[in-house]
């Protein structure tokens, strides 16, 4: 479903950061995520998780290697076909990104309207999706009347409204309390059981540890481990170059405070793209 072959992504130092620091992005990453997989993408901020997701969506194009999504090399897709690629991929964010002036039903319907679905198809399908995410009877609510967990459910409903084969989630529980997060994970799990490939970038160790799904850990743009039913922190000892053995921790020692004024940019953030 998703295949990375020796993918390297080097950001242009000048345009993004305005400093001499070359951002790592991704460094020679090769990985395959099969249809129907549920995989966690873990790693410190700046380890390349967002770059990974952006490459799948073809928001950016790899500087080296190739990214295949649903059998297509995304770099070879002409720009006018990119929307078609994105219709096959749903995306959920930490900050929900709902349209505040539209109610729950309209927010979900928006995704279908945008791709030209008929009114009757929207009328039929939206309630089903809302039921799947557990929001029956809340169609008429405005986003600001909903709790964080409910808002994220709306966002998930919107992401899967067009029946994508892949669902990307970028820290979907990052703004939610643990109990609510479990509810969201149950929704994602249900979606995965319906056959959708789910790839979730997260810092939430409780969730990763309890779900026992595939875990891919990135550090400074490289894949550090890839476990079938892993935990947030690796149990496999790592042999360092000097021969010492230690339990490597996902968040240990890799996180660096970004230099002032050059904050690691928010993933998919279109909010700041405009001048």
């Amino acid at each position: 479903m998703i295949r990375f072959e020796n993918v390297t992504m080097v950001y242009d130092q000048k345009s993004r950061l305005g400093s001499e620091n070359a951002r790592p992005g991704l460094d020679d990453v090769t990985i395959e995520i099969d249809r129907g997989d549920f995989a966690f993408l873990v790693g410190a901020s700046g380890s390349g998780k967002s770059t990974f997701l952006r490459l799948i969506l073809r928001e950016i194009v790899a500087t080296g290697g190739s990214v295949h999504v649903a059998g297509q090399n995304v770099a070879r897709i002409p720009s006018w076909r990119v929307p078609k690629l994105r219709r096959g991929i749903g995306v959920v964010f930490q900050d929900f990104r709902l349209l505040p002036q539209k109610n729950v039903f309209e927010n979900v319907a928006f995704a279908m309207q945008v791709v030209g679905e008929s009114r009757s198809a929207i009328r039929d399908h939206v309630p089903q999706v809302l039921k799947l995410v557990g929001l029956e009877g809340k169609e008429k609510r405005q986003p600001d009347e909903l709790s964080g967990g409910e808002q994220q459910r709306v966002a998930i409903a919107r992401a899967i409204a067009n029946k994508p084969q892949i669902l990307l989630a970028d820290e979907p529980t990052g703004n939610l309390d643990p109990a609510t997060s479990v509810g969201i994970m149950n929704v994602l799990d249900r979606i995965n059981q319906n056959g959708t490939t789910v790839l979730m970038a997260t810092h939430d160790d409780g969730i990763v540890n309890s779900m026992r799904r595939r875990v891919v850990e990135l550090s400074l743009g490289k894949i550090m481990r890839d476990e079938v039913a892993g935990e947030y922190t690796s149990m496999i000892p790592v042999i360092n170059q000097d021969g010492t053995r230690e339990l490597r921790q996902a968040n240990h020692g890799t996180w660096q405070k970004p230099p002032a004024g050059s904050q690691a940019f928010a993933p998919f953030d279109t909010e700041d793209d405009m001048p």
Partner: protein
């Protein structure tokens, strides 16, 4: 992408960005009014040329009692001189250039004068003696006026040869200058309009970045992302163009048709019919300018 959905988006955009949209409407309105004015002035010139060039003649004024021209040193023109000029006009050297000619006596000149200035007090004080007698010559080709002038200027008994077209050309050059000024102002205003449409679309895209961000992610095509914005610009420009057309129509209707044309009955004026020819072009110009400038802006500020 359904039409209804796109129009809904356009409506949202126009509402949220109302003050900018109003300014686009006004700037387009003013600039297209100037463009239209210039076009109508040019049409007026064409109209007058067609009307007058058939009627204007070369006037060969003959010497009167008190003329000081070098040909008139011997006082008023004599019978013999007049006959000679008449036979010259009929001679084979001149005939090919002359369509027809007629003699206008002092009395006839007075009659014409009184007709022309019937509302003026001048017509009562002027007497036939004060007006020159003349030959009125219509040329086959009015541009060949110089030949007649050269032939008759030095003939005895001729005071002066006047091409009446010269008088008209003065009027035309004034109208021409006015229409160039209008074109100049229109040019600056159109530049303003184009820049303003660009800024407005940019602001509109910024105000709706949340929507467009989501639209991108769920796979909106380029056209469905951009069309609402382009339509926004085009609708604003269209309203401006319609206002400009309306104002031009009203100006011609109430100032030209109902005033100038009544006061100066013997002049051909443009009428609202000409406005109806100009208006579609103004609308097209407005729509094309707005469409192009919004597309160019979106290429830069609304990536797919």
């Amino acid at each position: 992408m359904k039409l209804g959905f796109i129009l809904g988006e356009v409506g949202t955009g126009l509402r949220r960005n109302l003050s900018m949209v109003v300014s686009v409407v006004l700037v387009t309105f003013i600039s297209l009014t100037f463009v239209g004015t210039a076009a109508l002035m040019q049409m007026q010139i064409t109209q007058m040329k067609g009307y007058w060039y058939d009627k204007v003649q070369v006037a060969i004024y003959l010497c009167g009692e008190h003329n000081e021209s070098s040909n008139c040193t011997e006082g008023a023109v004599t019978e013999g001189q007049r006959g000679e000029i008449e036979s010259m006009l009929g001679s084979s050297a001149v005939k090919p250039y002359v369509d027809n000619f007629e003699y206008e006596s002092k009395e006839q000149a007075l009659a014409h004068f009184q007709e022309q200035f019937e509302n003026s007090s001048m017509s009562e004080t002027v007497t036939a003696e004060q007006l020159p007698e003349s030959f009125r010559v219509s040329l086959v080709d009015p541009e060949k006026y110089q030949i007649i002038k050269e032939l008759f200027s030095s003939t005895d008994g001729v005071d002066v040869v006047v091409d009446q077209r010269e008088l008209l050309e003065k009027i035309f050059s004034i109208i021409n200058i006015a229409s160039f000024v209008a074109i100049g102002i229109a040019g600056v205003m159109i530049l303003c309009a184009v820049l303003l449409v660009g800024t407005t679309i940019r602001l509109s895209a910024y105000l709706r970045r949340r929507e467009t961000g989501i639209m991108r992610l769920v796979g909106a095509s380029k056209s469905s992302l951009q069309l609402p914005f382009v339509l926004e610009g085009i609708i604003a420009a269209l309203v401006g163009a319609l206002l400009a057309s309306g104002v031009l129509w009203a100006a011609v209707r109430f100032l030209v048709d109902e005033k100038l044309a009544i006061e100066y009955k013997d002049t051909a004026f443009i009428s609202t019919g000409e406005v109806l020819i100009v208006a579609p072009w103004l609308i097209l110009l407005g729509v094309v300018l707005a469409g192009v400038s919004s597309l160019v802006t979106l290429r830069r500020y609304l990536k797919v």
